[in-house]
Symmetry: C2
């Protein structure tokens, strides 16, 4: 094309936008050299031109008019860093006008990803969204390319930093949930209204994006089964560790013969599993492929610079392709409709904590209830009772959830069982 | 080009070659769909056509004549899976005849990588070598692409499965080195002559390949400083754990203002560091970039199917580029000559175990020796002495190696010090 630069428009100059500009300033020479051509940020859409910003930007680049970017034919790449669903129109408009899209927008890709990717293809363009999941960790690109020789069997992620920080502090510093949450808020790892993170909805959206890519599917993100961590007690984390586990909020996607199973829930993870070592606000994705076996990608799941690093990696790829006149659109997308397997049809081992009366026959009753449903027991802790009450902790071998639930329903009715305190799934090593 | 397939020649049908053929048979439809065109293995160079093989291959594909592959103009891609340095001529010949190279050959890429990459560029072709380091783990592609926005500051790898298996068993099962080695040999994780692995030379070659890519350098692989693990005693692993560490054979590459520092040696790793959770025969690479912070890639560092998965990922990339007529040669290579910083100029914290006479003044002497060299102490263990001997274990704060060594030389001369048993570096969290 004989260009001497590729021009870029930025929508938004918040946390991630600031990170992107800082990286372009800090590593610009290397970035242009890798892209093969200079990258020029021509315009940046902001709400308030006067606002103080943590990065130095030539004020003449700032605009409050989206049209100045969307309608500029010299701009080839639009980087959308505003977030939320309202920007969908901007993205559609940019694609229709032949621009490539880079986005860090999890909500948009989770709810409208398939439709937008189709629109991109129909316009001979593409959408790059590495930064929408896992912050700085390369996840989308490895799933697309490095693991391309594999049929992906299962993905298991720790993809919410807020909950992982809380769980790590509950485990290592023996904090109660409320204390750990307050600390996370004070350190900026949890928002003032943290419910999206705590209830697992943030992780469910990210899982949906990853699973649709890994399994080449077209699943609606509401079909992810979700349980959060706000009822988790430190006591269960202590028991888990005694049994050789830690507790993590996991996002699990599996392709089974009957269909896809996508779920987010707290689970016991063996201490020897690599996901057990993912601490504090870090994220990781564990992937099982039919050729590679098991690999894990670990790193910072959020933050201006890490997420900016993913945005700029996408930018280098787009610009290199534009510069080398590579066919840069989506070659094929064939997101297939696949069946969803409900959680009760899945098999898991289960952790169960309950209060029982310290009297003869209670344990026999428990054992019979499990035995009748063909659920076998793997580990049992019962410590010396006090005041006529005993606390019993069990871990079962793997069983279908509906079988385990049937046993649990029976146990609930026993006079000797005073309370069923906690039930968590256990992932196998 | 109007092709309806891309034809491939395979040099070698050993462990990895068998894995590649199995993956192509198992996932062939998906692989061709990702590449956008059918991939056909046209010829396979073997030594013995009659040999029994673990994979079914049409006997008419086998040949004992390299020329049938190298001189076939229909073959666009040559996959070199013989290994060793004798195949260099095949690779050069294939490049000169305009073929793309995919290789799993660590020795070749470590000793002749820069020259071969230059030859590839001069012929408008490229060499893909993801499988030469880290088996199935995506390392080369992330360093090239996903982290392209970063200046890489440091890489720290566990990139030898044999030694990691031995160290894991010494740590978790309290085996002595010799027992753990025998077990590794029985399980096929160590060769009958394991010295290349145990002495760190295998890891040094892999580090050299990764570092030259990460730091855009042109280092001779003999400039890697190497210490192995064959003198490591279980006693030190037990002390390390008591202090909150495990011991790993690490491959460390750093870019410092004075130049590059590349070294392979056993080191104490904090138990909260993600590398501490890399167990058994698994490998991992921890990367620090100036934008992303810290990321880690974890997985199987060897094996037919994992390594085959990396080879086929490279194959998909080459074939897709051929099919879409993408400029597929190396855009720029500018491996720069960089200064090498010798280990004694580097700073580390140190672990030190010694036997001392149980008499007054010994510890004061130690403390003074360190103090005179400005090395400060972080942790000390001295347990009850027996038979007039005390075992002292120290961990220092970070100090330049030459300062630490100067203190050590003084300590050696003390009458009260009977033996200095072990000295290991400690990596910071």
């Amino acid at each position: 094309m004989g260009k001497d630069s590729v021009q870029v428009g930025l929508l938004g100059l918040g946390t991630v936008g600031t990170g992107v500009m800082q990286i372009l300033q800090m590593n610009g020479k290397q970035i242009s050299s890798r892209a093969g051509i200079d990258i020029v940020v021509k315009k940046i859409l902001v709400r308030d031109k006067q606002k103080f910003r943590a990065v130095k930007v030539d004020p003449s680049l700032l605009t409050t008019e989206a049209a100045e970017i969307l309608e500029d034919p010299e701009i080839d790449v639009v980087i959308e860093l505003i977030g939320g669903l309202d920007v969908r129109w901007y993205v559609e408009e940019a694609l229709k006008r032949g621009k490539f899209i880079i986005t860090a927008n999890k909500d948009l890709m989770a709810t409208a990803g398939a439709a937008l990717l189709r629109l991109a293809r129909d316009n001979g363009r593409n959408i790059y969204y590495e930064a929408s999941v896992g912050g700085g960790i390369p996840l989308i690109r490895p799933l697309k390319h490095s693991l391309g020789a594999n049929k992906i069997v299962r993905i298991v992620g720790i993809i919410n930093g807020t909950t992982n920080y809380i769980l790590t502090r509950m485990d290592l510093a023996h904090l109660e949930f409320a204390e750990a949450l307050r600390e996370a808020q004070a350190k900026g790892f949890a928002e003032q209204d943290p419910s999206n993170d705590l209830e697992g909805r943030d992780a469910a959206y990210k899982l949906c994006i990853l699973a649709n890519l890994a399994f080449n599917s077209n699943l609606h993100c509401d079909s992810v089964y979700v349980e959060g961590i706000s009822n988790l007690q430190q006591r269960d984390i202590i028991y888990a560790r005694e049994l050789g586990f830690t507790i993590k909020l996991l996002a699990i996607g599996e392709e089974l013969p009957e269909g896809l199973a996508l779920r987010v829930h707290p689970a016991l993870v063996p201490l020897t599993h690599p996901l057990a070592g993912v601490l504090f606000e870090n994220n990781a994705l564990y992937v099982e492929g039919n050729a590679i076996g098991e690999v894990m990608f670990y790193g910072p799941g959020a933050g201006a610079m890490p997420t900016g690093s993913s945005v700029v990696a996408d930018l280098i790829e787009v610009v290199r392709n534009i510069n080398h006149q590579v066919e840069n659109g989506i070659m094929e997308i064939s997101f297939q409709d696949k069946n969803v397997v409900p959680p009760y049809e899945l098999a898991s081992a289960f952790y169960l904590r309950m209060q029982a009366k310290d009297q003869p026959g209670v344990f026999a009753g428990l054992a019979n209830a499990f035995s009748e449903e063909m659920v076998s027991l793997d580990m049992i802790i019962q410590k010396r009772s006090s005041e006529g009450k005993a606390e019993i902790v069990l871990v079962t071998h793997a069983a279908k959830e509906k079988k385990f639930n049937a046993a649990l329903a029976k146990i609930h009715k026993f006079a000797g069982i005073m309370a069923i305190n906690s039930v968590y799934r256990v992932i196998p090593k």
